[in-house]
Symmetry: C2
Subunit: 223 residues, 2 copies
């Protein structure tokens, strides 16, 4: 079983202050990775906390020092995706790079860490489809990500890249659903390139939103 | 539990030739409807053939005269969706109505019979996510529907409604994934209008594909 890549926030590149803290970070990362691997392999419902602690080679009780429930592992995974959208917003605010290019990068990366792992995405989807409390958490995260996406679109409007006669919150809703849906369908049928499909989709949508002149004189608009 | 609407092909409006045939059609429709209601209520995996025959008020063995397996009920449901795309193609071929309007109707109707039933869609998607043979059948149906959609787009090109410098098969892939994905995400978060979101999505994509002049002189192009 191939291991999932370690998400950046658990990476050991940014060394925590002391040995104890470092140990905690590493244990959490090991549990997280073991859990995602098992979800992909046998499904979210079919994986027990004991399976996870065994695979991570820690005592059973240790799990609960890091995640109150198995569902919290899914929440951590979702939080990574939300953080990615919020990061993009911060990046766009502080840079003169066209906002629509930042959104395009988000589209390319919409499947995040799991782009090599359709089985993980399927397990996650099945867990959401089958379990109402898991779905409630997803809806909360989607709201936060949608708000950040709406702010990105508003920034594109302020900078004259985008039409002002469209509602950024309506648009954020459509873009989020379309990109997230693309990941989900791809996971059921992972033969085509997810990255390419997501980019193609954004590239079809963006011209409807761009200011008519944006394509021909981008420097002027960003001046 | 609210009953699902009877799909058109099982409707009693088109009377079969004789009493025996009529009885068969009605029994199949009853089994089909009972199965979908139960999938929505308790999930695909959790529903047994016996649950279905009991709800449909027929003997247990009767089920197998109509559906070789429980999975074949899902296939029948999927076949309805494929038939809808093929119908749209026939309709477009025989009419002078702009092809992109026919595709737009398809987008509006992408969730089909189940637009009132996110629980059914969730059960169906969970079954696909969890069960490889079910997924293989979905992939086959998606290919057939995608081919019909590509032919629709080619027709739009032939009639001068659409740019000719895009691949209709690539495009059919993107459009199919985006619309299907929209249904999937909506089922997890059924607060917004699925129909509106699907239409908004198509309306964002279409201008990238339309001939620049199509909007301003449609009659001339269709002459």
């Amino acid at each position: 079983m191939k291991s999932l890549p370690v998400p950046p926030r658990f990476s050991t590149a940014r060394r925590p202050a002391n040995r104890r803290e470092r140990h905690r970070t590493e244990t959490r990362a090991r549990l997280y990775r073991a859990a995602l691997d098992l979800f992909a392999e046998r499904g979210f419902m079919e994986t027990t906390v004991e399976d996870i602690t065994e695979a991570a080679d820690v005592g059973k009780g240790t799990f609960f020092n890091y995640f109150p429930t198995k569902e919290h592992v899914l929440a951590a995974y979702g939080a990574e995706r939300v953080a990615r959208v919020e990061q993009a917003l911060e990046e766009a605010k502080e840079s003169t790079r066209p906002v629509h290019e930042v959104i395009r990068d988000l589209a390319a990366d919409s499947a995040g860490q799991s782009k090599e792992h359709p089985a993980l995405l399927r397990a996650i989807y099945a867990a959401h489809a089958s379990c109402a409390p898991v779905r409630v958490e997803l809806q909360k995260r989607m709201r936060v990500a949608r708000r950040a996406l709406a702010r990105l679109l508003a920034l594109a409007q302020e900078r004259g890249e985008m039409r002002r006669d469209v509602s950024t919150s309506d648009l954020a809703h459509i873009v989020q659903i379309a990109l997230m849906g693309t990941c989900m369908v791809w996971a059921l049928q992972p033969d085509a390139s997810l990255r390419k499909t997501s980019l193609d989709l954004w590239d079809l949508m963006w011209p409807s939103l761009a200011q008519p002149a944006a394509a021909s004189r981008p420097e002027k608009l960003r001046a």
